[in-house]
Symmetry: C2
Subunit: 318 residues, 2 copies
């Protein structure tokens, strides 16, 4: 906290951010929150910052990375499930027919998640996520999926923590899918990751206890579920919230109601060259109502193309 403020006056804490009103707004907020005697000062214990993950800390195109994980899992498990050849959504998946797969909609996706995420111990699931991250490569960048994280957001997370903030992920993605790698990649430990979940049960397992994942939805941490998830897992209202889609709007509205004052941040994907450009019409990460409300209420909107010097760490030139 306090000890770092000396350093941050001499070294740029956000070197991958171009100078401009976005960077200025972030730094002015942090300065106002941390400086003793400031009218907007907030005690360290209440400096809660929440970040959406998909399309906000890492990419989400051409579709959610967790869906690719589920697809790869189902493919690997298919030899043990001959019945899948005739059952949707497995049939479409195994035939590589993404259009037919998407036509199965949310019920189809839930079946995929249950088939690929349930019926095993949490330790085995954790290992399967780590194994997938080591082997799988993103089709466009030919890089492991968890290297497609945003360098400017990594700097922002560090900057906030250096200023006494506690940083949380609040994502619609699966909590058990994120936790195996968020500590190493984002510096966010598992207990500061909030996400969607399926139920689980304790099994004494003859003296070698395990937690088994069950094929039943527990909690969907999206849209109006995000403030509920924040209350449930964090128990304090954030003073800083960051997202990229309409699925984050309620989180930002909830944060904006903090009487201590708050900073609301949207990431607008405007960079088709270095990443992707999409907003109001996208099926993934749609940003429509949120963009209107951000403009109406004066929330800060990152323009990826102009605000970021670099997108991914592997594009950083020293």
């Amino acid at each position: 906290g306090e000890t770092v403020s000396v350093e941050t006056t001499s070294v740029d804490p956000l070197p991958s951010w171009n100078e401009g009103k976005t960077k200025e707004a972030i730094m002015a907020f942090v300065e106002g929150v941390t400086r003793e005697g400031s009218p907007t000062f907030v005690p360290q214990a209440d400096r809660i910052a929440t970040f959406d993950n998909d399309g906000n800390l890492w990419s989400e195109q051409p579709f959610y990375f967790q869906l690719q994980f589920a697809i790869d899992r189902v493919r690997a498990m298919a030899s043990d499930h001959p019945e899948w050849k005739d059952q949707q959504p497995f049939k479409a998946l195994l035939e590589g027919d993404m259009q037919a797969l998407m036509a199965e909609g949310e019920p189809g996706l839930i079946k995929l998640v249950m088939a690929s995420h349930a019926g095993m111990t949490t330790a085995d699931f954790d290992a399967s996520v780590k194994d997938w991250l080591e082997r799988a490569r993103h089709p466009r960048f030919d890089q492991p999926y968890n290297t497609l994280v945003y360098q400017p957001m990594l700097e922002l997370l560090d900057y906030l923590r250096d200023n006494g903030f506690t940083t949380f992920i609040v994502s619609g993605g699966g909590i058990d899918f994120m936790r195996p790698w968020t500590e190493e990649v984002y510096g966010i430990p598992p207990h500061q990751v909030v996400g969607s979940s399926i139920k689980a049960e304790f099994d004494y397992n003859a003296g070698s206890p395990v937690i088994r994942k069950l094929p039943e939805l527990d909690f969907i941490d999206d849209k109006a579920g995000k403030p509920v998830g924040i209350h449930k897992f964090i128990g304090k209202k954030p003073i800083f919230a960051s997202g990229n889609s309409d699925g984050d709007l309620q989180m930002l509205q909830y944060t904006a109601s903090n009487p201590k004052g708050a900073f609301m941040l949207y990431l607008h994907h405007t960079d088709a060259e270095r990443e992707w450009a999409y907003d109001r019409d996208s099926h993934i990460g749609r940003l429509d109502k949120g963009l209107d409300e951000a403009r109406e209420k004066g929330w800060t909107v990152i323009d990826m193309k102009t605000d970021w010097k670099v997108v991914y760490p592997f594009q950083t030139v020293e």
Copy 2:
């Protein structure tokens, strides 16, 4: 973490604990976990410690303090609910007939909790807990309920944190009932409190968003629910777990299975004079199977009467 170890060699970090094998076992474990090069060294990020609350960090007699809160709430709300005069468990409660109230069993208690904990915003509930803690006095000690915390356990929490542990509460009690005061009293922030919960929903509320508590159970963080709650909220297996009843047994079993090694601690209420003495036959905080398993497996059992110099902070003589 490391910086404090110098201090702890010269100043006793557990001054309210009598010398003996309980204190020695705790300190030997912490020393082995924290000393670089030790065969039992555990990295700081994995030093997860979980503590039961009722009867483990604060007292739970003559009955759970949260039940007294619910009773006081129901009494205060009774004038708005004339129908309660003829409905159990409210009738028994309003007539002060604790025996009849207890005869309503768990369904009766759940009705009390729903009537006193649901149908309001989380902010209003939070305020009602703080108000109760200011006004209510414990019948035996005539002190606010949240001063009936155990001085030796406060020292243990500090000692673990000074040695790089992250401390969590994992309680069967209501998560929203604990969070308003655990940070101030135990140094445990809301996001490190795991407990039982009822469901909640987001209400945009015409631009002043709130979370409303609903009359529906969400999660029971007791017995086999404790390891499930640990997985759900913490996402790592503890290396240190502390409880006082059979409701903690699965948490201790789960912790004992940590391949990094672990410390399991039971608090045995043996001090009728300074606190209460109860174990195998108690309706509240029964410790029966857990006591047997602790002896069988060599877990550490605190004998309150002999291991603790003082019980409550207000009994401390400087």
